[in-house]
Amino acid sequence: MSHISSVLASLVHVLSHAPSVFWRLTLSGIELGGVYALIAIGYTLVYGVLQFINFAHGDVYMVGAYIGFFSVTVWFASSSPWIQGICGIVLSIIGCALLGLFIERLAYRPLRNGLSSADAVPWSIISAFYVDAFLGKYLAARSVLPAVAIYLIVFAISFAVMLVVLKKLFRMLAPRIKPTNDRLTALITAIGMSLLLENQGAASFGVSPHIAQVKGINQSVAPLIVLVASVVLAAALVFVIKATSIGRAIRAVSQDKDAAALMGIPTDKVVGFTFLLGAGLAGAGGFLNHMVDGVQFDTNIGITLGLKAFIAAVLGGIGRVDGAIVGALLMGLAETYTGASIFSDFKNAVAFVILIAVLLLRPSGILGKTAQEKV
């Protein structure tokens, strides 16, 4: 194992001493793009099967970073770097995958099947109320929390309890609110889920930023590990989508849900699996970016990085996995180049500039096809 890392180190050594700074910037741009891609794939997959933007997806990524944080600093604090890295990323992936599945089952599926819109309509209202009335003061009083894993458990339990309790409460209070617009309801619900995750995160982990890294990781090797891992994971995802039976089912559901059901495909299960895949990749992204590369994070990264990854997905053509990857790489590179130029203050704005430019020229994104009416 140390052999591999020394090979990597020498490779990085060669690369980082390459004549041009441009080379190094490109490498770190692709690395950032890889992280964006891991998040963007989740947006695009879910959009593909449901034509719905899962705004809570960025917050799942945030949870991935925290699971990684507790793995590295608490659960596997005294293990070797390899154990830390591997167990950390596996736990982040599994934890986030389950979270994604859980959100889909409890918040989105009831809406889709039209059981009762009261199940989910008012998530965002509740959540906003919850922040203002309760969390604001609570958080101000304890802005620094020790990094103890118990908070992750507190987070999981309180999130689950909130979700179940709120759901029951709304069934009682408003048993039959008729939705006026199903797509809008779904969108508001997603925003509500995002707020709920973020606020529960802040309440459980504190609002102050954290920073940690897998033990003894070589600063110059880290970017390469992130790069290789994101390429491997994205390739695995593409393989699942293109070459397996469940992947074919996902594509069928995204092309024609009714026809897919007529083939005997359990569409709800396939949608759940799509959430599982997307959320798992986001978890991996959270671990790689923050625990391997050591980028500082807090509970807001779900919004900031999530939004950029979402833009990357739109940029590439939402609904397409290859589009998300292309868009993410483009964004990562643009952001890194801008950051190194005299316009470095505009590093975070460049994403939006590119988005506006691309959408003016190609409204459906770089690889997106113009919408075709089915005959």
Partner: protein, 235 residues
């Protein structure tokens, strides 16, 4: 084999099916005819589980299926070739056929044998094997939709408007294929606007009007019926 009794379907305020009852016996070809919006497709969609009836019962081989979801009903042996073909446009012909066998628990070689058999029945599909289904012509897409529906090895095949938008000679081909499928032992429920052709092929027929079954009889009787001739056969 299939028994639909007093089924009611609503789309919001619209009462799409009003106490629809019908029966299909093993080995038959039964056709549903009627004008646009008469409820033919709604009937088929409620049998295949895409639409849930508000009341009434549907049973297949004696088992109630009206509460089952669409993917479970396929497993019981009911397959549907939907109106408008609904092939998966971005997937190849081959992938479409593979998806047709999704509900079956069988080996890969069995599936590929069945696909070869479909290519034998529909040689045009073999030529287009690697092409995205969206690039096929209307007639080819219709053949693909039927072949795909057969891939689940159904005992009852429901065909929704298989002749829609096809050139007359292709309509002949499609109807001949339906006959062949039936001769191989598959029971057929055929929805058609082309009432003349459908009644010539079928053993029995049901006439739907604004969501109600207004008439059912053997095909020969329906072909001879004055009201049917006036309304649906263009006499």
């Amino acid at each position: 084999m299939l028994k639909v009794s007093n089924v009611n379907v609503y789309y919001g305020a619209i009462h799409a099916l009003v106490n629809v009852s019908l029966e299909v016996s093993e080995g038959e070809i039964v056709t549903l005819i009627g004008a646009n919006g008469a409820g033919k497709s709604s009937t088929i969609r409620s049998i295949s589980g895409l639409v849930k009836p508000a009341s009434g019962e549907i049973s297949f081989n004696g088992n109630p299926i009206h509460r089952s979801s669409a993917h479970e009903i396929v497993r019981l042996g009911i397959s549907q070739s939907p109106e408008g073909r609904r092939v998966f446009p971005a997937m190849t012909v081959h992938e479409n056929l593979k998806l047709g066998a999704y509900s079956r628990k069988c080996s890969k070689s069995e599936v590929s044998n069945d696909i070869e058999e479909m290519y034998h029945t529909f040689p045009r599909l073999k030529e287009r094997e690697k092409q995205p289904a969206g690039t096929l012509s209307g007639g080819e897409q219709q053949m693909l939709a039927i072949a795909r529906a057969l891939m689940s090895r159904p005992r009852l095949l429901m065909l929704d408007e298989p002749s829609l938008g096809l050139a007359p000679f292709l309509v002949q081909t499609i109807f001949r294929i339906i006959k062949d499928i039936n001769l191989k032992g598959v029971t057929i429920l055929l929805v058609e606007q082309n009432a003349n052709q459908a009644l010539k092929l079928a053993n029995r027929g049901y006439v739907l009007e604004t969501g109600e079954v207004i008439l059912h009889d053997s095909s020969s009787e329906l072909l001879a019926n004055d009201a049917v001739r006036k309304a649906y056969l263009g006499d």
